[in-house]
Amino acid sequence: MPVLEVRNLVKHFTSGGGLLGGAKRVVRAVDDVSFTLSGNETLGVVGESGSGKSTLGFLALGLLSPTAGEIRFLGRPVNDLGDRENREFRRKAQIVFQNPFASLNPRMTVRDILDRVLKVHGLPSVSEDGEVVPSLLREVGLRPEHAGRYPHEFSGGQRQRIAIARALASGPELIVLDEPTSALDVSVQAQVLNLLQDLQRARGHSYLFISHNLAVIRHVSHRVVVMYLGKFMEMAPKERLYSAPLHPYTRALLASVPKPFVTDENIEDKVIAGDIPSPSAPPAGCRFNTRCPLRTPLCEEEEPEWKEVGKEHFVRCHRVDEWV
């Protein structure tokens, strides 16, 4: 049974409207997306700002309620859980945020932060391996003596380890990682990424790994999905997506990342033209058509299908058959 099953998920944010609130604006943050996530798997979600990737993560955890569509967690629909089931869901699905300076309560010690998770779920604070809090801290590479300190006494990387320990404390099956290393320096990022991989190997949970960084996503994911203005544009196993990307957006995105070595290629040749349209006024037809070098008149009128073009490889592009 997959850990997470998402079908035709839609989330709209409405602003304005009402009595005299001006024109109603609808942001289609997540628009008709479907995917599954298996046990011990990492699905990487990559996209630029306005792509809806963070909203997707919040929806998956039930922190936002969807406008339409269905989310199943371990086979149960998340939208209508009873109290007990909801608690169970909260225990088994956790999150790590981007900014470790804002994601820990500054007025709680590390021990309090971790204890609260155990208390809320009625979990014992002592297990057969000894006390839970020190062993959690050791597991994420901190020392048990750190338990009595406050978050501000730690560096960004250490705080992110505390946030990871908090997510682990309830023994989750799914952890949503929302840009977990974007606020960190490269050398610290490497430490945290390695830690996340070690923990997955040891515990077997799944990750929904959200990032704007294509290289990080490649490093951690088993499968990758590319989002643009609320839509999935391409989804494929990692090797395929990075070696043989099919969507023009994926290709352009991969090309536009400056590589950390000297090449003869010019950055000028890799540019995707134009601005990212506002998610509250996405273009008609294919959402990428305003910037796509391969656009046809059809792309401006009709939204392409979400097509399976190979094993586990999906693309949303009218012209994909031409270059498969």
Partner: protein, 323 residues
């Protein structure tokens, strides 16, 4: 290349805070040649932004203070200039592009006005139409969509990428000889970053200005710079041509940094890490600042700070293990 346009020697900057003295920069020396792009790369707290602000003499004082060293711009001693002389240099001969275009533009003035201001401060432009034409021309040059309309737009009406273009137009308005770009694309999306980088590169080639490019992203540095200086905890640890740096890095920190970057083009089973964290800038250890995280540290490294030394032609490294 002739004389360097900018030459910084032994620059030392301290910040006096409630918690103590931060040694933000220690003996930083480098120079930028005419038409050269020098990349300054390093992680948080390495002092790269402080270096940039020092060159412009924009360090907030107090708490910051330049306690030692010299900065020469086009042969003139920047630190000895009067405030008025410095002012006439800023924006005219040396211009700066900041990291966050959203907060770097004044929200209550139009984009066009803010660029106009940069011009009229340094030049007499008698006719208003000429001024507007010049600003519109600048907007065209930096590829701002619909320049006639954009000059009258307030910053919040422009996208992040467009705002950064306005900042660049402002920087270029008086054809400066040195452009200091402090993380110019860090706040932008990947696809917009590529646009801005290529714009800066094109303008630099056309105009022949020198650029001091500051970034934490080695990819950006590789794409843009000719010479690179790597900074760590307030010091330059390695300095060489961009090609040498990426092909044959010598300082253990540079090597560690390059190994820690996830790669887009190859599969890596595991990232190599630099263990530990940045030393406390309030309380720097004796000896080499990188020693505690270094796998190659020698007993000598605990004794004194290694200085930048030319180990092979055009390749300077501050490391006892390489000397």
């Amino acid at each position: 290349m002739g004389d360097p346009i900018l030459s910084v020697k032994n620059l030392t900057v301290h910040f006096h805070t409630e918690a103590g003295v931060v040694k933000a920069l220690e003996d930083v020396s480098f120079s930028v040649g005419q038409g050269e792009v020098l990349g300054l790369v390093g992680e948080t707290g390495c002092g790269k932004s402080v270096t940039a602000l020092s060159v412009m003499r924009l360090i907030p004082t107090p708490p910051g203070r330049i306690v030692g060293g010299t900065i020469h711009f086009d042969g003139r001693d920047v630190l000895a200039l009067s405030e008025e002389e410095m002012r006439s240099l800023r924006g005219k001969d040396m211009a700066m592009i900041f990291q966050d275009p959203i907060s770097s533009l004044n929200p209550v003035f139009t984009a066009g006005y803010q660029v106009e201001e940069a011009i009229v401060t340094h030049e007499a432009v008698p006719r208003r139409e000429d001024l507007i034409a010049r600003v519109t021309g600048l907007f065209k040059k930096v590829n701002i969509s619909d320049p006639e309309k954009s000059v009258r737009s307030y910053p919040h009406m422009l996208s992040g990428g467009m705002k950064q273009r306005v900042m660049i137009a402002m920087g270029l308005s008086c054809s400066p000889r040195l452009i200091i770009a402090d993380e110019p694309t860090t706040a932008l999306d990947v696809s917009i970053q590529a646009q801005i980088l290529s714009l800066i590169r094109r303008l630099q080639m056309e105009g022949g200005s020198s650029v001091l490019l500051i970034s934490h992203d080695l990819g950006v540095i590789a794409a843009m710079a000719q010479t690179v200086a790597v900074m760590y905890a307030g010091s330059i640890v390695e300095k060489t041509s961009v090609k040498t740096l990426f092909d044959r890095p010598l300082h253990p920190y540079t090597r560690g940094l390059l190994g820690a970057i996830p790669r887009l083009d190859v599969d890596q089973e595991r990232l190599s890490v630099i263990p530990g964290t940045l030393p406390d800038l309030f309380n720097l250890p004796r000896g080499c600042k990188f020693r505690e995280r270094c796998s190659e540290a020698l007993p000598l490294c605990a004794e004194g700070r290694p200085l930048l030394a030319e180990i092979e032609p055009g390749h300077e490294v501050a490391c006892y293990a390489r000397a």
